[in-house]
Amino acid sequence: MSERKIGVYVCQCGGNISDYVDVERVRQAVAEDPDVVVARTAMFTCSDATQDEIADDIKLDDLDGLVVASCSPKLHTFTFRGVARRAGLNPYRYTQVNLREQDSWAHTDDRLGATEKAIRLVRAGIARTRLLEPLDPTVVETVPRALVIGAGIAGLRAAIGLADIGLGVVLIEREAEVGGHVRELGTMYPHDRQGQELISELLGEVRRREGIALFTNAELVRKGGTFGNYEVDIRTRGDSNMTRRFEVGSIIVATGFDSYLPEEGEYGYGIPGVLTLPEFKKLVDASEGPLVYGDRPVRSVAYIYCVGSRQGESGPHQYCSRFCCTSAVHTDLELRAKAPKVHQYHLYRDMRTYGRYELLYNDSREKGSAYLKFAPDTPPEVQRRGDGQLEVRVHDQLASQEEVNLDVDLVVLVTGMVPRSNQELIQRLKLPVGRDGFFNEIHPKLRPVETVVDGVAICGACQFPKTAGESVASGLAAVSWSAAMLKQGRAELDPQVATVDPDLCTFCGVCMEACPYGAIGQQELGGSRQVAVIDPATCKGCGGCAPLCPEHAINVLGYTGREVEAMIESLAAGVA
């Protein structure tokens, strides 16, 4: 048996745990373990006083392992790693045991059951800690400059934010002009500003800042270097076909979206007078007074919602595009202000005018627009009659399935956002792409702009459909994330990555094929034996390669086979 000196701290969480778990019984049960030299309970382990007490124990008893049994690891893992580090204990020789979210709070009805589970969970934490090796994060120096890819509203605003916080910025735009989709928009909610006007203003701000280098007609053609100091090659087209190289510490991807383009014949698309929402918005924006399409006055409009969104199993766009309900309702009100007599019918599946946008929806209804709900299996049908009039037939779910025939001059297909085709960029940056085709953050709430690729963040509508306001907010989140990393001048990489045991590896190549990040390479080991080797700075620690290794030569540090099996043994064992 190994002889370890482990300290165990069982938290009462001011009653959140101790009201449902007999923490003293848990303490006594684990104190018997020969490797446990300190076992205490505390009112709040996260309090400054208890943190100091833990640090003192680590120093006095020369602890080489720490187990804190309190809340979810999502809350205080960094807190207790810090305590360990301050006291001279390697922070990766610490295990957080989840006694609150996954025990006391889930079993408030069963004190004995919750207490016995607590004993098992803490024993599993001790079993893991017994086997933990000290790990050192790879520390990298970071260059105080960011690359922003895409100069739409999110990218422009992010570039300004970065410059104002004292970081250098390389801002590149694939198109000849900056501003993306917002440049094309008319009056925007809630400030009634024109899209073009907003973009001009932001462009002016960008130009005023010396720290921002803006390139249009420009693309990223290569990414080299390593995290903290990526080398990026930017190629510009046009008069000066040239490639420039920059060193950057972070990369913010703000490449935006495409609008869904209906298929020919989808809800009558292709028939004159059947428009997509972006086409219709341009028509309304350009119109002064009564609306005219072709040379005919427009007296009535039918909007059909969810076109190209929520496609079910049949289509690639199974998601709700979020912004389009609000955009259609806002367009209704814009048109109403210019041409109050136009009849507007909204044929929807579900309305999603969330937050303050509900006010727009109410306003539209109060002013007389009609909203008719259809079921996905009986979608509206659009036809063009002989006299050129458009006819829309719909079963109104809120009026006993009655079929309603609408004669209208225009049909507006409320189309959503779809992911942009950006295969080359995805390849170059190894961007994680979700099933919906948009880029994936690590966690939508807890780490909303970071990707698993170190130093690469995403913002704006390349992430999922967003309004302009939400895009700007995420752009600024990416600024904060960049600043937190680059202003320090150094960053740490999680050392809990996959490793290969060269004694077991026979280099079959399976792991190399399985890693989408290119973290696994080949190395010659003494003589002519080839083995796989994993770059800790590139490995994301997902462990996807490990179960595929036929020789069981790969383990993720902190989650090794021995550690997991030791936890299983403790969880399965009796508590007596």
């Binding site: 979210e101 994680p432 462990g543 099996e565 299983i568 043994e569 969880l571």
Partner: protein, 147 residues
Amino acid sequence: MATTMAPPAPTAGTTFGPKILVFSTNNISDPGIDLAGSSHLHYSPRAMTIAVPCSSGIAPEWIAYAFDQGFDGVFIASDGEECSYLTDCSERSAKLFERAQAMMAEKGYAPERLKMAAICSVCAEPFVKYMHEFEAQLRELGPVGVA
């Protein structure tokens, strides 16, 4: 399949409470299981969770080992399509699941003792529902290792 929202009473004369090992993932399903607790949704305290980075990293050997050690059921709360590491995480997890069941068959463990479902970071209620259903099913199967 019938939905059981509360574990049924044990059959007469027995007090068998199945032990369930749950594998969760740090970024996706473990926060969902946390939320079940934060919402004070109850499930059996004999269900215990080990969190790992990604469901594509769960070795079939660990699953077989859990049965060897006396767990009556193993539930993989997988990343599904939300995995931030691997686009094909669902397919990878499904393959590992099949390998684990093959390993279980060799050792004589009923394949129904292993379950997998994608649990998102706010999927508290689905998780608890799965736990209740699984527990009921395991009660019918009886303790592991008993023919």
